[in-house]
Symmetry: C2
Protein backbone atom coordinates (compact mmCIF):
# COMPACT_ATOMS: atom_id res chain seq x y z
CA UNK A 1 0.00 0.00 0.00
CA UNK A 2 1.17 3.58 0.81
CA UNK A 3 2.14 6.39 -1.52
CA UNK A 4 3.63 5.55 -4.90
CA UNK A 5 6.49 7.89 -5.85
CA UNK A 6 5.29 10.09 -8.68
CA UNK A 7 7.19 10.02 -11.94
CA UNK A 8 7.35 13.59 -13.25
CA UNK A 9 8.25 12.91 -16.87
CA UNK A 10 6.61 10.25 -19.07
CA UNK A 11 9.98 9.56 -20.71
CA UNK A 12 11.78 8.49 -17.55
CA UNK A 13 13.40 5.24 -18.59
CA UNK A 14 17.04 6.03 -19.31
CA UNK A 15 19.05 7.21 -16.35
CA UNK A 16 19.57 10.47 -18.21
CA UNK A 17 15.85 11.39 -18.05
CA UNK A 18 15.30 10.42 -14.43
CA UNK A 19 12.64 12.26 -12.45
CA UNK A 20 14.10 14.21 -9.50
CA UNK A 21 14.54 12.17 -6.35
CA UNK A 22 12.28 12.57 -3.36
CA UNK A 23 12.19 11.13 0.14
CA UNK A 24 9.43 8.63 -0.64
CA UNK A 25 11.28 7.14 -3.58
CA UNK A 26 14.50 6.92 -1.58
CA UNK A 27 12.78 5.18 1.33
CA UNK A 28 11.09 2.74 -1.03
CA UNK A 29 14.43 1.85 -2.59
CA UNK A 30 16.12 1.61 0.80
CA UNK A 31 13.52 -0.81 2.13
CA UNK A 32 13.78 -2.90 -1.04
CA UNK A 33 17.54 -2.97 -0.65
CA UNK A 34 17.29 -4.05 3.01
CA UNK A 35 14.71 -6.71 2.15
CA UNK A 36 16.98 -8.06 -0.54
CA UNK A 37 20.42 -7.86 1.03
CA UNK A 38 19.92 -7.27 4.74
CA UNK A 39 20.53 -4.29 6.95
CA UNK A 40 24.29 -4.44 6.55
CA UNK A 41 23.76 -4.58 2.81
CA UNK A 42 22.34 -1.08 2.73
CA UNK A 43 24.94 1.54 1.96
CA UNK A 44 24.43 5.06 0.74
CA UNK A 45 26.63 4.28 -2.21
CA UNK A 46 24.72 1.17 -3.27
CA UNK A 47 21.41 2.85 -2.65
CA UNK A 48 22.50 5.75 -4.81
CA UNK A 49 23.43 3.55 -7.72
CA UNK A 50 20.17 1.59 -7.37
CA UNK A 51 18.45 4.95 -7.90
CA UNK A 52 20.75 5.93 -10.75
CA UNK A 53 22.40 8.66 -8.76
CA UNK A 54 25.62 9.36 -6.89
CA UNK A 55 25.53 8.51 -3.19
CA UNK A 56 26.02 12.11 -2.23
CA UNK A 57 22.77 13.13 -3.94
CA UNK A 58 20.88 11.36 -1.14
CA UNK A 59 22.20 13.84 1.36
CA UNK A 60 20.15 16.48 -0.32
CA UNK A 61 17.01 14.66 0.90
CA UNK A 62 18.19 13.14 4.18
CA UNK A 63 20.82 14.76 6.41
CA UNK A 64 22.24 11.37 7.43
CA UNK A 65 21.82 7.66 7.02
CA UNK A 66 20.22 7.62 10.47
CA UNK A 67 17.37 9.85 9.38
CA UNK A 68 16.92 7.74 6.28
CA UNK A 69 16.56 4.70 8.54
CA UNK A 70 13.94 6.60 10.52
CA UNK A 71 12.13 7.03 7.22
CA UNK A 72 12.28 3.28 6.66
CA UNK A 73 10.88 2.76 10.17
CA UNK A 74 7.94 5.02 9.37
CA UNK A 75 7.30 3.05 6.24
CA UNK A 76 7.29 -0.20 8.21
CA UNK A 77 5.04 1.25 10.86
CA UNK A 78 2.56 2.23 8.16
CA UNK A 79 2.04 -1.50 7.60
CA UNK A 80 0.79 -1.94 11.15
CA UNK A 81 -2.98 -2.20 11.26
CA UNK A 82 -5.02 -0.74 14.08
CA UNK A 83 -8.71 -0.79 13.13
CA UNK A 84 -10.64 2.44 13.72
CA UNK A 85 -12.65 3.00 16.86
CA UNK A 86 -16.14 1.55 16.56
CA UNK A 87 -15.23 -1.16 14.08
CA UNK A 88 -14.66 -3.67 16.88
CA UNK A 89 -14.14 -3.70 20.67
CA UNK A 90 -11.04 -1.84 21.84
CA UNK A 91 -9.17 -4.93 23.02
CA UNK A 92 -9.89 -6.71 19.74
CA UNK A 93 -8.44 -3.74 17.90
CA UNK A 94 -5.29 -4.00 19.96
CA UNK A 95 -5.08 -7.73 19.33
CA UNK A 96 -5.31 -7.04 15.61
CA UNK A 97 -2.53 -4.52 15.97
CA UNK A 98 -0.20 -6.97 17.68
CA UNK A 99 -0.85 -9.58 15.01
CA UNK A 100 -0.16 -7.12 12.23
CA UNK A 101 2.99 -5.92 13.97
CA UNK A 102 4.32 -9.47 13.98
CA UNK A 103 3.48 -9.71 10.29
CA UNK A 104 5.82 -6.81 9.64
CA UNK A 105 8.64 -8.94 11.01
CA UNK A 106 7.62 -11.82 8.77
CA UNK A 107 7.41 -9.62 5.68
CA UNK A 108 10.55 -7.60 6.43
CA UNK A 109 12.79 -9.78 8.58
CA UNK A 110 15.90 -7.70 8.00
CA UNK A 111 14.28 -4.29 8.34
CA UNK A 112 12.21 -5.20 11.41
CA UNK A 113 15.36 -5.04 13.51
CA UNK A 114 15.17 -1.27 13.11
CA UNK A 115 11.84 -1.20 14.95
CA UNK A 116 13.33 -3.19 17.81
CA UNK A 117 16.60 -1.35 18.13
CA UNK A 118 16.10 2.28 17.17
CA UNK A 119 14.07 4.80 19.11
CA UNK A 120 10.61 5.65 17.82
CA UNK A 121 10.98 9.37 17.54
CA UNK A 122 9.06 10.18 14.42
CA UNK A 123 5.66 11.80 14.02
CA UNK A 124 4.17 8.59 12.67
CA UNK A 125 5.32 6.69 15.75
CA UNK A 126 3.65 9.18 18.05
CA UNK A 127 0.48 9.05 16.00
CA UNK A 128 0.46 5.27 16.47
CA UNK A 129 1.09 5.63 20.21
CA UNK A 130 -1.86 7.96 20.37
CA UNK A 131 -4.16 5.43 18.74
CA UNK A 132 -3.00 2.57 20.95
CA UNK A 133 -3.49 4.66 24.06
CA UNK A 134 -6.88 5.71 22.74
CA UNK A 135 -7.88 2.07 22.51
CA UNK A 136 -6.69 1.44 26.06
CA UNK A 137 -8.65 4.46 27.25
CA UNK A 138 -11.70 3.17 25.43
CA UNK A 139 -11.21 -0.18 27.19
CA UNK A 140 -11.46 1.71 30.46
CA UNK A 141 -7.91 1.95 31.70
CA UNK A 142 -6.54 4.97 33.52
CA UNK A 143 -3.19 6.58 32.65
CA UNK A 144 -1.11 4.35 34.94
CA UNK A 145 -2.58 1.12 33.63
CA UNK A 146 -2.60 2.36 30.06
CA UNK A 147 1.13 2.94 30.33
CA UNK A 148 1.72 -0.50 31.79
CA UNK A 149 -0.38 -2.31 29.23
CA UNK A 150 1.09 -0.22 26.44
CA UNK A 151 4.52 -1.43 27.49
CA UNK A 152 3.41 -5.02 28.05
CA UNK A 153 1.84 -5.21 24.61
CA UNK A 154 4.91 -3.59 23.12
CA UNK A 155 7.28 -6.02 24.81
CA UNK A 156 5.30 -8.96 23.53
CA UNK A 157 4.94 -7.64 19.99
CA UNK A 158 8.60 -6.75 19.78
CA UNK A 159 9.81 -10.02 21.27
CA UNK A 160 7.53 -12.08 19.04
CA UNK A 161 8.71 -10.25 15.95
CA UNK A 162 12.35 -10.74 16.81
CA UNK A 163 11.77 -14.44 17.43
CA UNK A 164 10.37 -14.76 13.92
CA UNK A 165 13.50 -13.25 12.50
CA UNK A 166 15.87 -15.32 14.59
CA UNK A 167 14.04 -18.53 13.79
CA UNK A 168 13.65 -18.04 10.08
CA UNK A 169 16.80 -16.27 8.99
CA UNK A 170 20.33 -17.56 9.20
CA UNK A 171 23.19 -15.44 10.48
CA UNK A 172 25.86 -16.79 8.18
CA UNK A 173 28.79 -15.74 10.33
CA UNK A 174 27.64 -17.34 13.56
CA UNK A 175 28.71 -20.41 15.46
CA UNK A 176 27.23 -23.41 13.66
CA UNK A 177 24.86 -24.99 16.16
CA UNK A 178 21.22 -24.86 15.19
CA UNK A 179 18.11 -25.32 17.25
CA UNK A 180 16.18 -26.34 14.15
CA UNK A 181 18.23 -29.46 13.70
CA UNK A 182 19.21 -29.97 17.29
CA UNK A 183 19.21 -33.46 18.70
CA UNK A 184 21.99 -33.89 21.27
CA UNK A 185 19.90 -35.82 23.78
CA UNK A 186 22.85 -36.64 25.96
CA UNK A 187 23.80 -33.14 26.95
CA UNK A 188 20.56 -31.19 26.52
CA UNK A 189 17.74 -33.70 26.95
CA UNK A 190 15.07 -31.11 27.75
CA UNK A 191 15.97 -29.03 24.72
CA UNK A 192 15.81 -32.15 22.60
CA UNK A 193 12.40 -33.06 24.00
CA UNK A 194 10.91 -29.62 23.40
CA UNK A 195 12.81 -28.69 20.22
CA UNK A 196 10.06 -29.74 17.86
CA UNK A 197 7.67 -27.24 19.46
CA UNK A 198 10.21 -24.45 19.31
CA UNK A 199 10.73 -24.63 15.58
CA UNK A 200 9.74 -21.83 13.23
CA UNK A 201 6.66 -23.68 11.99
CA UNK A 202 5.28 -23.75 15.54
CA UNK A 203 5.59 -20.02 16.01
CA UNK A 204 2.06 -19.25 14.81
CA UNK A 205 0.55 -21.43 17.53
CA UNK A 206 2.99 -20.14 20.14
CA UNK A 207 2.19 -16.56 19.25
CA UNK A 208 -1.58 -17.02 19.45
CA UNK A 209 -1.21 -18.83 22.76
CA UNK A 210 0.72 -15.95 24.25
CA UNK A 211 -1.64 -13.40 22.78
CA UNK A 212 -4.65 -15.17 24.32
CA UNK A 213 -2.91 -15.42 27.66
CA UNK A 214 -2.06 -11.74 27.61
CA UNK A 215 -5.44 -10.48 26.50
CA UNK A 216 -7.36 -12.80 28.81
CA UNK A 217 -5.51 -11.18 31.66
CA UNK A 218 -5.95 -7.70 30.25
CA UNK A 219 -9.68 -8.27 29.86
CA UNK A 220 -9.89 -9.36 33.48
CA UNK A 221 -8.08 -6.24 34.59
CA UNK A 222 -10.40 -4.11 32.51
CA UNK A 223 -13.46 -5.75 34.10
CA UNK A 224 -12.30 -5.57 37.69
CA UNK A 225 -9.84 -2.94 38.82
CA UNK A 226 -9.85 -0.30 36.15
CA UNK A 227 -9.76 3.48 36.67
CA UNK A 228 -8.31 4.71 39.89
CA UNK A 229 -6.73 1.53 41.26
CA UNK A 230 -3.44 3.15 42.19
CA UNK A 231 -0.54 0.76 42.63
CA UNK A 232 2.37 2.81 43.91
CA UNK A 233 5.77 3.83 42.51
CA UNK A 234 4.43 5.86 39.60
CA UNK A 235 7.42 8.16 39.32
Amino acid sequence: MSSAPERATPRSRGKAARAPLNRDAIVTAALAEIDAKGLEGLSMRRLGSALGVEAMALYHHFPSKGELLDGVMERLLAEAELPPSGSMPALERLRTFVRSYRQIAIRHPHAFVLLAVRRFNTEAAFALYERILDALDEAGFDAVHSARLFRLIGYYASGAGLAEIASRSQEPDATPVHLETFSDRQRFPRVAAVARYLRANSLDAVFEFGLDLLFDEIRKQAAVGKRGREAGSGE
Copy 2:
Protein backbone atom coordinates in the same frame (compact mmCIF):
# COMPACT_ATOMS: atom_id res chain seq x y z
CA MET B 1 32.21 -13.44 37.70
CA SER B 2 33.90 -15.43 34.93
CA SER B 3 37.53 -16.20 34.20
CA ALA B 4 40.23 -13.56 34.49
CA PRO B 5 42.66 -13.69 31.57
CA GLU B 6 45.95 -15.12 32.80
CA ARG B 7 49.07 -13.05 32.39
CA ALA B 8 51.89 -15.39 31.47
CA THR B 9 54.88 -13.22 32.26
CA PRO B 10 55.25 -11.06 35.39
CA ARG B 11 56.97 -8.34 33.36
CA SER B 12 54.04 -7.63 31.07
CA ARG B 13 53.74 -3.88 31.17
CA GLY B 14 55.30 -2.52 27.98
CA LYS B 15 53.62 -3.55 24.78
CA ALA B 16 56.80 -5.39 23.90
CA ALA B 17 56.36 -7.87 26.77
CA ARG B 18 52.66 -8.49 26.29
CA ALA B 19 51.27 -11.89 27.25
CA PRO B 20 49.90 -13.78 24.23
CA LEU B 21 46.29 -13.03 23.43
CA ASN B 22 43.48 -15.44 24.12
CA ARG B 23 39.77 -15.51 23.37
CA ASP B 24 38.75 -14.53 26.90
CA ALA B 25 40.92 -11.44 26.93
CA ILE B 26 39.69 -10.41 23.50
CA VAL B 27 36.03 -10.82 24.49
CA THR B 28 36.62 -8.83 27.68
CA ALA B 29 38.15 -6.00 25.70
CA ALA B 30 35.44 -6.16 23.05
CA LEU B 31 32.66 -5.88 25.62
CA ALA B 32 34.45 -2.99 27.31
CA GLU B 33 34.76 -1.28 23.96
CA ILE B 34 31.06 -1.78 23.18
CA ASP B 35 30.06 -0.55 26.64
CA ALA B 36 32.18 2.55 26.16
CA LYS B 37 31.54 3.47 22.53
CA GLY B 38 28.54 1.48 21.37
CA LEU B 39 28.15 -1.41 19.00
CA GLU B 40 29.11 0.65 15.97
CA GLY B 41 32.18 1.78 17.86
CA LEU B 42 33.65 -1.71 17.92
CA SER B 43 36.01 -2.31 15.05
CA MET B 44 38.63 -5.00 14.74
CA ARG B 45 41.21 -2.30 14.20
CA ARG B 46 40.30 -0.32 17.31
CA LEU B 47 39.94 -3.47 19.37
CA GLY B 48 43.37 -4.57 18.24
CA SER B 49 44.99 -1.34 19.26
CA ALA B 50 43.17 -1.42 22.62
CA LEU B 51 44.91 -4.77 23.14
CA GLY B 52 48.25 -3.50 21.90
CA VAL B 53 48.15 -5.62 18.78
CA GLU B 54 47.45 -5.29 15.07
CA ALA B 55 43.85 -5.93 14.06
CA MET B 56 44.85 -8.96 12.04
CA ALA B 57 46.18 -10.72 15.12
CA LEU B 58 42.60 -11.14 16.32
CA TYR B 59 41.83 -13.38 13.38
CA HIS B 60 44.16 -15.93 14.85
CA HIS B 61 41.69 -16.36 17.73
CA PHE B 62 38.34 -15.69 16.02
CA PRO B 63 37.66 -16.53 12.37
CA SER B 64 35.45 -13.46 11.94
CA LYS B 65 33.97 -10.50 13.74
CA GLY B 66 30.68 -12.43 13.84
CA GLU B 67 32.15 -15.21 15.94
CA LEU B 68 33.74 -12.64 18.22
CA LEU B 69 30.28 -11.12 18.72
CA ASP B 70 28.99 -14.60 19.58
CA GLY B 71 31.70 -14.66 22.23
CA VAL B 72 30.44 -11.35 23.60
CA MET B 73 26.92 -12.80 23.67
CA GLU B 74 28.12 -15.75 25.72
CA ARG B 75 29.78 -13.36 28.13
CA LEU B 76 26.54 -11.42 28.52
CA LEU B 77 24.51 -14.58 28.97
CA ALA B 78 26.86 -15.60 31.77
CA GLU B 79 25.48 -12.63 33.72
CA ALA B 80 21.98 -14.08 33.62
CA GLU B 81 21.05 -15.69 36.92
CA LEU B 82 18.92 -18.81 37.14
CA PRO B 83 19.04 -20.17 40.70
CA PRO B 84 19.71 -23.90 41.05
CA SER B 85 16.89 -26.39 41.41
CA GLY B 86 15.83 -26.75 45.04
CA SER B 87 16.85 -23.26 46.08
CA MET B 88 13.36 -21.94 45.40
CA PRO B 89 10.16 -22.93 43.56
CA ALA B 90 10.61 -23.40 39.82
CA LEU B 91 8.48 -20.42 38.81
CA GLU B 92 10.33 -18.18 41.26
CA ARG B 93 13.60 -19.28 39.69
CA LEU B 94 12.28 -18.28 36.29
CA ARG B 95 11.11 -14.96 37.63
CA THR B 96 14.59 -14.35 38.97
CA PHE B 97 15.99 -15.21 35.58
CA VAL B 98 13.78 -12.71 33.76
CA ARG B 99 14.73 -9.98 36.24
CA SER B 100 18.43 -10.70 35.81
CA TYR B 101 18.07 -10.78 32.03
CA ARG B 102 16.64 -7.28 32.11
CA GLN B 103 19.54 -6.21 34.31
CA ILE B 104 21.91 -7.24 31.52
CA ALA B 105 20.23 -4.65 29.32
CA ILE B 106 20.63 -2.02 32.03
CA ARG B 107 24.29 -2.85 32.62
CA HIS B 108 25.19 -3.26 28.94
CA PRO B 109 22.72 -1.16 26.94
CA HIS B 110 24.78 -1.20 23.78
CA ALA B 111 25.79 -4.84 23.86
CA PHE B 112 22.33 -6.13 24.81
CA VAL B 113 21.18 -5.51 21.27
CA LEU B 114 23.27 -8.52 20.27
CA LEU B 115 21.10 -10.78 22.42
CA ALA B 116 17.97 -9.45 20.77
CA VAL B 117 19.17 -9.50 17.19
CA ARG B 118 21.61 -12.36 16.72
CA ARG B 119 20.75 -16.02 16.89
CA PHE B 120 21.63 -17.88 20.07
CA ASN B 121 23.67 -20.64 18.59
CA THR B 122 26.38 -21.15 21.13
CA GLU B 123 26.87 -23.93 23.66
CA ALA B 124 26.27 -21.56 26.54
CA ALA B 125 22.92 -20.54 25.06
CA PHE B 126 21.81 -24.15 24.79
CA ALA B 127 22.91 -24.82 28.34
CA LEU B 128 20.73 -21.93 29.48
CA TYR B 129 17.79 -23.20 27.41
CA GLU B 130 18.20 -26.54 29.10
CA ARG B 131 17.99 -25.02 32.56
CA ILE B 132 14.96 -22.88 31.72
CA LEU B 133 13.16 -25.89 30.25
CA ASP B 134 14.16 -27.89 33.31
CA ALA B 135 12.46 -25.32 35.51
CA LEU B 136 9.32 -25.47 33.37
CA ASP B 137 9.36 -29.25 33.58
CA GLU B 138 9.73 -29.01 37.33
CA ALA B 139 6.74 -26.66 37.40
CA GLY B 140 4.77 -29.46 35.76
CA PHE B 141 4.47 -28.39 32.13
CA ASP B 142 4.58 -30.82 29.24
CA ALA B 143 6.69 -30.27 26.13
CA VAL B 144 4.08 -28.24 24.24
CA HIS B 145 3.41 -25.86 27.11
CA SER B 146 7.08 -25.66 28.03
CA ALA B 147 7.81 -24.47 24.52
CA ARG B 148 5.03 -21.89 24.63
CA LEU B 149 5.98 -20.53 28.01
CA PHE B 150 9.65 -20.59 27.07
CA ARG B 151 8.82 -18.35 24.14
CA LEU B 152 6.44 -16.17 26.11
CA ILE B 153 9.02 -15.56 28.81
CA GLY B 154 11.65 -14.91 26.18
CA TYR B 155 9.49 -12.40 24.33
CA TYR B 156 8.83 -10.50 27.52
CA ALA B 157 12.43 -10.54 28.71
CA SER B 158 13.72 -9.46 25.34
CA GLY B 159 11.12 -6.75 24.86
CA ALA B 160 11.64 -5.38 28.35
CA GLY B 161 15.39 -5.26 27.86
CA LEU B 162 15.09 -3.43 24.56
CA ALA B 163 12.70 -0.91 26.10
CA GLU B 164 15.30 -0.12 28.74
CA ILE B 165 17.82 0.62 26.04
CA ALA B 166 15.49 2.70 23.93
CA SER B 167 14.33 4.73 26.91
CA ARG B 168 17.68 5.41 28.48
CA SER B 169 20.04 5.84 25.56
CA GLN B 170 19.94 8.46 22.88
CA GLU B 171 20.36 7.67 19.21
CA PRO B 172 22.21 10.80 18.24
CA ASP B 173 21.35 10.60 14.55
CA ALA B 174 17.60 10.27 14.93
CA THR B 175 14.74 12.64 14.29
CA PRO B 176 14.63 15.00 17.27
CA VAL B 177 11.29 14.25 18.94
CA HIS B 178 11.52 12.79 22.40
CA LEU B 179 8.97 11.01 24.51
CA GLU B 180 10.79 12.04 27.65
CA THR B 181 10.06 15.70 27.08
CA PHE B 182 6.89 15.28 25.11
CA SER B 183 4.04 17.68 25.74
CA ASP B 184 2.13 18.42 22.54
CA ARG B 185 -1.31 18.12 24.08
CA GLN B 186 -3.04 19.44 20.99
CA ARG B 187 -2.05 16.71 18.61
CA PHE B 188 -1.39 13.74 20.89
CA PRO B 189 -3.46 14.31 24.02
CA ARG B 190 -3.44 10.67 25.14
CA VAL B 191 0.32 10.43 24.77
CA ALA B 192 0.66 13.62 26.75
CA ALA B 193 -1.60 12.28 29.50
CA VAL B 194 0.26 8.99 29.83
CA ALA B 195 3.79 10.21 29.06
CA ARG B 196 4.82 10.56 32.67
CA TYR B 197 4.17 6.85 33.28
CA LEU B 198 6.08 5.84 30.18
CA ARG B 199 9.31 7.52 31.18
CA ALA B 200 12.46 5.58 31.96
CA ASN B 201 12.06 6.08 35.69
CA SER B 202 8.74 4.26 35.60
CA LEU B 203 10.14 1.20 33.88
CA ASP B 204 10.88 -0.66 37.10
CA ALA B 205 7.24 -0.54 38.13
CA VAL B 206 6.03 -1.33 34.63
CA PHE B 207 8.34 -4.31 34.41
CA GLU B 208 7.25 -5.78 37.74
CA PHE B 209 3.61 -5.28 36.83
CA GLY B 210 4.05 -7.22 33.61
CA LEU B 211 6.09 -9.90 35.32
CA ASP B 212 3.37 -10.41 37.94
CA LEU B 213 0.68 -10.54 35.28
CA LEU B 214 2.63 -13.11 33.31
CA PHE B 215 3.55 -15.35 36.21
CA ASP B 216 0.11 -15.17 37.79
CA GLU B 217 -1.25 -16.59 34.57
CA ILE B 218 1.55 -19.14 34.29
CA ARG B 219 0.91 -20.28 37.85
CA LYS B 220 -2.77 -20.77 37.05
CA GLN B 221 -1.92 -22.83 33.99
CA ALA B 222 0.44 -24.94 36.07
CA ALA B 223 -2.27 -25.58 38.66
CA VAL B 224 -5.05 -26.45 36.24
CA GLY B 225 -4.32 -27.80 32.82
CA LYS B 226 -0.79 -29.03 32.96
CA ARG B 227 0.59 -32.23 31.47
CA GLY B 228 -1.26 -33.69 28.57
CA ARG B 229 -3.67 -30.92 27.70
CA GLU B 230 -3.01 -31.01 23.98
CA ALA B 231 -3.99 -27.86 22.12
CA GLY B 232 -3.53 -28.59 18.45
CA SER B 233 -1.27 -27.31 15.67
CA GLY B 234 1.96 -28.53 17.21
CA GLU B 235 3.77 -29.03 13.93
